[in-house]
Symmetry: C2
Subunit: 134 residues, 2 copies
DNA sequence: GGATGGTTAAATGGAAGTGTTTAAGTTCAT
DNA sequence: ATGAACTTAAACACTTCCATTTAACCATCC
């Protein structure tokens, strides 16, 4: 039975980094090149990102599919689409227009380009009015 | 750039499972054996567990090591150990006795057996008085 | 123009994870 | 005790991930 996602090496680097050490200093301590420290740190953070996304997905399991935001849609048009679908299902969304846009940018920044949606986005809705994107 | 930890197959199974389907039903739907569905579901949940642990670790990065709870310790004795160590460091823990025990049971249930601690537990403390276990 | 801190790409060997099958083993209610 | 739901172990081909090296590339600050 394994621990978390992070290898010992990755934890080591993250800990030293949090202490404020430079990549070169860490490289000297753990006996490798700074390029390697950079790579290790990068993949560590990548793993953390994936861990977050995984838990996000688990939340959507409690939620039901609401609608799809098509690629190319205007960001500012998104909240109204969501409000409309949600009220059709008798659920009050717990965000206002601005809140929804922020939630979207934070939740899946990689699907947003400036004012537009880059890829199709699946929207899920909770009974509590919580919104999830995928 | 990859998504979460879960493969499409794993998500598929988890979704169907949440809908209340049996492993056999899912096996028929996705065209494989029930044994395989079982394995897929198991490794999916394993992945979720690891995702949780990973984020837990990130929290401990902001915290400093406080003490070790030895294997075999009585659960009811744990809070006092923690309060004592914390006050020695001039930090007020943001939980009371009951709260701490609950936090422990929720955070690392696999290390707790009835009223006793099964394995050594590392305790970390935040400047905010937040407590993390590992 | 160096020095310092950071990032990137390509290549590699070894380790670990995934989906699958088959076959056997639970647990539990009817 | 029969069946339904579920778990487990072993084995296999495939794929992905990790740490590492080397060598090069930005950015910034004296």
């Amino acid at each position: 039975m394994k621990n978390g996602l992070l290898t010992d090496r990755q934890k080591e680097v993250l800990r030293h980094r949090r202490q404020g050490l430079t990549q070169q200093q860490i490289a000297d301590i753990i006996g490798t090149s700074k390029a390697n420290v950079c790579t290790i740190e990068k993949s560590a953070l990548e793993n953390v990102r994936r861990a977050r996304e995984t838990l996000q997905f688990m939340y959507t399991l409690d939620a039901r599919f609401l609608c799809t935001i098509p690629s190319g849609a205007d960001l500012l048009a998104v909240p109204d689409m969501i409000f409309q679908e949600a009220s059709a299902r008798g659920v009050k969304v717990r965000y206002d227009t601005i809140g929804l846009i922020n939630r979207l940018r934070e939740s899946i920044p990689e699907h947003v380009q400036a004012r537009f949606v880059k890829d199709d986005i699946q929207v899920y809705l909770n009974d509590d009015g919580e919104i999830y994107f995928e």
